[in-house]
């Protein structure tokens, strides 16, 4: 959990960093070798927790290389610069972000995050030839239409059946309510989860609420009236999860929770008021967060960035994506020849200093093999006890 101890220093540093980068970008940085990578995502507004987690992860990996003297590119060691842009969680913002990064000659980036952003970004990525690693749960997050689009983690369609099946085996549930906000970010993920629950024979209702709902009391009462065995929370942003679980707990809800989309453990535990209050929760971790590699990420982050890493689950996947982006630049010997970069990416299996090797997948679902296939984690809380996060291997397709 983040404490505001160093808040003042952080404010000062970010203001300084802001003004410094203003100066530098103006002076066009006359250094002999520089690599530019980008980040686009929601940096302001309600979804900014995700965007900011991605941003800091990208900056962390870049700083790590810079600390080691630079990223080796074609025999030289290059300074890594991260260009970030706020895509504002809207389609127009996504499009503007693509244009902005193109004008900054950024050809490879991490993001966008929100489904609307991705909707706006995708068509322009073709035009500007930008490799982007998006993390949306859009049904067509990647696809043959956007050859430079990569997906930095799998969607519910991939891990969902495995984890929900495992969950069902463990907890035996027959009725489910899938919750989500009534915008694209919510419905994309919610509908996919609902489909999977239905596929394995669980009677499933979908409940949409208005984005910006401040009090989930009434919705909790509605769920209580439906009396499901399990409430699936994956489509909700973390504060909403906490809010809903709190209301459900108080309403005397005694059922299970599912977290099929990377919300992690904290929001549910926060909401329930402690692990011991939860009858059963199984959730997806986009990375196996209890592997030693994950702990190492946090350690290194703290050391290099001089601040605590975010609690957001996106930290690990973003770090993984950032590592692979820089690795591809290094291998391809360029940060601007997009086709060469894409080629390198497709041909080499993804690999991480922290998490080891992965592979590519996506052909069957999206028609294009550009999604990281990497073991995910399945976390379980049962009868008030944290059972742990176990590694779940996902099939490669390459």
């Amino acid at each position: 959990m983040r404490m505001p101890k160093k808040a003042r220093t952080r404010l000062t540093t970010s203001v300084l960093a802001g003004s410094a980068s203003l100066l530098f970008s103006a002076a066009a940085l006359a250094q002999d070798c520089e690599v530019k990578v980008g980040m686009a995502g929601p940096l302001t507004g309600g979804a900014s927790a995700w965007g900011l987690a991605m941003k800091t992860s990208m900056e962390f990996v870049a700083a790590k290389h810079n600390e080691a003297g630079g990223l080796p590119v074609g025999g030289k060691k290059c300074k890594v610069n991260v260009v970030t842009v706020d895509a504002q969680c809207s389609a127009a913002g996504g499009a503007a972000a693509s244009n902005y990064l193109a004008s900054q000659n950024v050809k490879i980036l991490i993001g966008p995050v929100c489904s609307p952003e991705t909707t706006g970004f995708q068509p322009l990525s073709n035009r500007h030839k930008q490799i982007f690693f998006n993390s949306s749960y859009k049904a067509d997050a990647i696809g043959p239409d956007w050859p430079y689009g990569f997906h930095m983690h799998q969607g519910p369609k991939v891990f969902g059946p495995i984890i929900i099946k495992a969950g069902k085996d463990r907890f035996k549930f027959n009725t489910a309510v899938v919750m989500g906000p009534n915008d694209q970010g919510g419905t994309d993920s919610g509908n996919q989860s609902a489909a999977i629950y239905r596929e394995i024979g669980v009677k499933t209702e979908v409940e949409w609420y208005q984005r910006g709902t401040t009090n989930f009391g009434p919705i909790a009462a509605r769920i209580m009236a439906q009396n499901p065995d399990i409430v699936e929370l994956a489509a909700m942003p973390p504060p909403d999860v906490t809010n809903l679980v709190r209301q459900l707990t108080q309403a005397g809800y005694n059922g299970l929770y599912g977290g099929m989309g990377g919300i992690g453990m904290e929001p549910v535990v926060q909401g329930a008021g402690g692990v011991e209050k939860i009858k059963g929760y199984f959730w997806l971790e986009l990375m196996p967060v209890e592997d030693p590699g994950a702990l190492k990420v946090r350690e290194d982050y703290q050391r290099i960035m001089k601040s605590a890493p975010t609690t957001n689950a996106m930290l690990y996947t973003s770090t993984f994506a950032a590592e692979n982006i820089l690795r591809a630049v290094s291998l391809a010997g360029t940060d601007s020849d997009v086709d060469k970069l894409a080629d390198v990416l497709r041909k080499t299996a993804p690999e991480s200093e922290y998490f080891g090797k992965g592979c590519w997948r996506g052909k069957a679902q999206y028609g294009i093999n550009q999604e990281f296939a990497f073991p995910v984690g399945m976390g379980v809380i049962q009868d008030g006890k944290r059972i742990g996060v176990e590694r779940v291997n996902l099939p490669c397709e390459s």
């Binding site: 970010s14 203001v15 802001g18 980068s21 970008s25 940096l43 302001t44 507004g45 900014s48 900011l52 941003k55 260009v83 970030t84 842009v85 706020d86 504002q88 969680c89 809207s90 389609a91 127009a92 913002g93 499009a95 503007a96 972000a97 693509s98 244009n99 902005y100 193109a102 004008s103 900054q104 489904s115 609307p116 909707t119 706006g120 068509p123 322009l124 035009r127 500007h128 009534n182 915008d183 694209q184 919510g186 419905t187 994309d188 949409w208 208005q210």
Partner: protein, 331 residues
């Protein structure tokens, strides 16, 4: 003659003239950032002119995103159904919002001040919810995606520079309509704003002009919606979010609420700064807020309004002409 009327006309004309270079931008530049700014400018100006038209009568309308959505979705659905001719799209996205404006206008135009603001704001919220609740018609929260590029007399406008050009052209037409209407009815509009009772005593049918203004404002917003949809290839609810109207209103006020030039300058300034700020990640919103406060405190009449006040001779306080009664005054 009347120097003030003419000066305002010239200021408005200068505003329109400042829009023309936007047409040249796609021909001259390839830099995507410049092109991106170009179409954002064009759409921003058209949307804020929709606010401006109503503001000429002293009404601050928050319905702009809703009308933009009506126009944008109309165009998207039409294009999806195979009609991609931009003239037809423009007709649809101009006329349909105007038709919507008639019953809405009958409902709200008797209101004034904050009640008008709040009710028009509620329209936006309702529209967002209606879009969500009608997935068959509007694509719900996913919006209408894969909208084919518009054509002009059979020529494909999908090529990037043409797309920007077409967007700018649509917005320019919208701006000309707003400009023309605000001039055709300038005397009536500004009289209603300044002294409604006197205007009425001289025979002005106030409700009629309010309705005309509202309808024109709706049509102009609809065209801006078309431009946005054409640019993104998507009619997406996030493009028409309620809070986006705050931006358009800020453009008008920061530039100067009295003239088209003010609207154009405000839009250019704030859209450019937003793009610059967006690179400052999570600080961007705060920087925008700082800019807003700085301008409102340093130049309460907006940039143009204040410049006119400083350099523009006798007709000083046009930019912020009729100040509302002081708080707690006889209400």
């Amino acid at each position: 003659m009347a120097p003030d009327r003419h000066r305002d006309f010239w200021l408005d004309l200068w505003g329109m003239a400042l829009l023309l270079p936007l047409l040249a931008m796609p021909l001259l530049f390839k830099d995507p950032f410049i092109l991106s700014l170009t179409y954002q400018f064009a759409i921003g100006v058209a949307a804020s002119l929709s606010v401006y038209v109503m503001l000429r009568m002293g009404l601050l309308s928050f319905t702009v995103p809703a009308f933009m959505a009506v126009g944008g979705y109309a165009a998207a659905m039409l294009a999806k159904s195979g009609v991609t001719e931009i003239m037809a799209l423009m007709l649809a996205s101009f006329v349909l919002p105007m038709i919507f404006a008639v019953p809405l206008g009958l409902l709200v135009l008797k209101l004034k001040g904050l009640y008008f603001i709040f009710i028009t704001f509620i329209f936006n919220e309702i529209l967002q919810l209606i879009i969500f609740e009608t997935p068959k018609l509007t694509g719900g929260s996913d919006g209408v995606v894969g909208v084919p590029a518009a054509t002009f007399l059979g020529a494909d406008l999908g090529v990037p520079w043409r797309q920007v050009f077409a967007t700018v052209a649509v917005c320019l037409i919208a701006s000309v309509i707003a400009f023309a209407a605000s001039h055709r009815y300038r005397a009536e509009f500004t009289s209603i704003e300044e002294n409604e009772t006197l205007a009425e005593s001289l025979g002005v049918a106030v409700w009629k002009y309010r309705m005309i203004g509202y309808i024109v404002s709706a049509g102009v917003a609809g065209l801006a919606g078309l431009a946005l949809v054409n640019m993104l290839g998507t009619a997406h609810p996030s493009s028409f979010a309620s809070w986006s109207v705050n931006n358009y209103i800020a453009y008008v006020f920061v530039g100067g609420r009295g003239t088209v030039l003010g609207v154009v300058v405000g839009s250019y300034l704030l859209i450019y700064m937003t793009n610059v700020f967006n690179a400052y990640a999570h600080l961007s919103a705060g920087l925008f807020g700082l800019l807003l406060i700085a301008v409102m405190m340093a130049a309460p009449g907006g940039v143009v309004g204040t410049a006119v006040k400083l350099f523009g001779g006798f007709r000083a306080d046009k930019g912020d002409a009729p100040r509302p009664a002081p708080a707690g005054g006889a209400a």
